[in-house]
């Protein structure tokens, strides 16, 4: 499996401040890639740069061999923002049918993704009346509709109860097993062990990019949280 995205000296500036500093990364296909770090570390900015909605990006960045945001990627990359971007005044089914037409996805996919994220029985409920976790899953279902090669999900499990959270991770695993690449951000370090590769971010920099096992070995730590602390200290020292 090759790489799905290449960063070479990528920077993002907002006004005079650098939000992302000289990123060099390669994201491998068919994996669950965890983007971990505190809020304000630049996780969302990195994801937005990948989907081509971020202004002020410089350096070389390619996604599936194309420029981010180019029309070639519109159906190959899907993005779900942190605040579930769904239509609250429509039902689950109406949301998905609309997204289906926008993506040009086959009609049976609507029923499939509803089943995959476990929203059966809620098809005709207005999204605004659902719980936060259910709304998240509607947003996730929209991202999955077009069977994209790369799914970029910003904090998809935030605020979910542990049972639901592990269900969502099981979905990611199934997608990765089918060859799709999933980039998931989180500020919860516990989620590190569910990912194949990790990218630790702090203050707009990548402070580690490896498997959890390697990062633990390198930092002589037993938990992702401690490893992060050790790396953060190393960078600022």
């Amino acid at each position: 499996m090759g790489s799905v995205a290449e960063f070479e000296g990528v920077r993002v500036s907002r006004g005079k401040t650098l939000v992302l500093q000289d990123l060099n990364l390669s994201l491998q296909a068919g994996q669950i890639i965890g983007l971990l770090g505190p809020s304000g570390a630049g996780k969302t900015t990195l994801m937005r740069a990948l989907v081509g909605v971020q202004a002020g990006v410089s350096g070389k960045l390619s996604v599936l061999g194309s420029t981010p945001g180019s029309s070639a990627l519109e159906t190959r990359v899907a993005y779900a923002t942190q605040a579930s971007s769904v239509f609250d005044d429509l039902t689950v089914l109406q949301n998905l049918r609309f997204a289906k037409t926008m993506l040009g996805a086959p009609a049976p996919r609507v029923g499939e993704v509803i089943a995959e994220v476990g929203l059966e029985g809620l098809e005709n409920r207005q999204v605004g009346s659902l719980s936060g976790g259910q709304r998240n899953r509607v947003s996730l279902a929209i991202a999955m509709l077009g069977s994209p090669e790369l799914l970029i999900l910003d904090e998809p499990t935030v605020g979910l109860d542990p049972v639901l959270r592990s269900e969502i991770w099981a979905i990611f695993r199934r997608l990765a097993d089918k060859g799709q690449t999933i980039l998931v951000s989180s500020h919860v370090m516990d989620e590190a062990e569910r990912c194949d590769t990790l990218i630790f971010m702090r203050d707009g920099r990548v402070i580690a990019n490896d498997t959890l096992a390697n990062i633990l070995l390198q930092t002589n730590s037993t938990t992702a949280e401690n490893a992060f602390l050790a790396l953060a200290k190393g960078v600022s020292a």
Binding site: V53, G69, S85, V86, F87, Q94, F98, A99, T101, L103
Partner: protein, 247 residues
């Protein structure tokens, strides 16, 4: 051809989606359709003069859809910008022009229903006398579309729904005041009269005044074309403000 049908399909889906969203809010639909009629009725009752109402009534039939559509379109679009749905779908094959045309079609349909209801009420209940009912309907519809187009554009300059509502007194009220509804344009001070010439609502209301005065349809159509040009201009500018890349 495939891409043309894809684009057409998406445009229609956007219209359908906007209509579903409007429909899900029953109270707004009721307010949208009934309030203009009730206000027209209130005017007829207050003026208490058939002659005066025949003069002002047609303009009200055009004014209310303009105002209501401005508000409805600006708030709906603002919501879409704020909730992230616009950004999300701009990363799919959806194009900005499909978005704008989809919105215009949906609100255009609402506008024609609203104008028809208001006009029917004005004619049947309030006894408004109009020579050319269809031309008045066309003009009222053009007014509503113009309000919608300006609303779409206005949404780009607001961060909150409060701000959008404040655009009403800031941008719409001056147009109503200078639009010739209270004082005929010919009786205004020169400066105001020239300003009035450059306001979209002036032409929107003038088209209607010409209809109720029984002017020839060529003169009326000139005003309607001006309104149409303003709509098109606002929609194009509006499309330009739908940015894919933001900070």
């Amino acid at each position: 051809m495939n891409s043309f049908f894809g684009s057409l399909g998406r445009t229609i889906a956007i219209s359908g989606r906007v209509l579903l969203q409007i429909r899900s809010d029953r109270r707004t639909v009721a307010l949208m359709f009934l309030v203009p009629s009730l206000l027209t009725g209130l005017f007829a009752w207050m003026l208490n003069s058939k002659q005066l109402f025949d003069h002002i009534g047609p303009r009200l039939v055009g004014l209310f859809p303009f105002v209501v559509m401005f508000l409805a379109a600006s708030i709906t679009t603002l919501r879409e910008r704020r909730s992230g749905t616009l950004e999300r779908f701009l990363t799919t094959p959806m194009r900005r022009d499909e978005f704008i045309i989809g919105y215009a079609l949906a609100f255009g349909l609402m506008a024609i229903l609203q104008s028809a209801i208001t006009q029917t009420f004005a004619v049947l209940v309030c006894g408004l006398k109009v020579d050319n009912i269809w031309l008045l309907l066309l003009a009222a519809w053009a007014n509503a579309i113009c309000g919608m187009a300006l609303g779409l554009l206005a949404s780009a300059f607001a961060q909150t729904e409060f701000q959008v509502i404040q655009f009403m007194p800031a941008f719409i009220f001056p147009q109503i005041i200078l639009g010739g509804l209270f004082v005929p344009q010919s009786q205004m001070p020169d400066v105001l009269s020239s300003i009035s010439d450059w306001l979209p609502l002036t032409h929107a209301l003038r088209s209607i005044t010409l209809i109720s005065d029984g002017a020839d349809s060529g003169t009326i159509m000139t005003e309607i074309w001006i309104v149409a040009a303003v709509c098109l201009g606002s929609l194009l500018l509006g499309a330009f403000t739908l940015r894919k890349r933001t900070e």
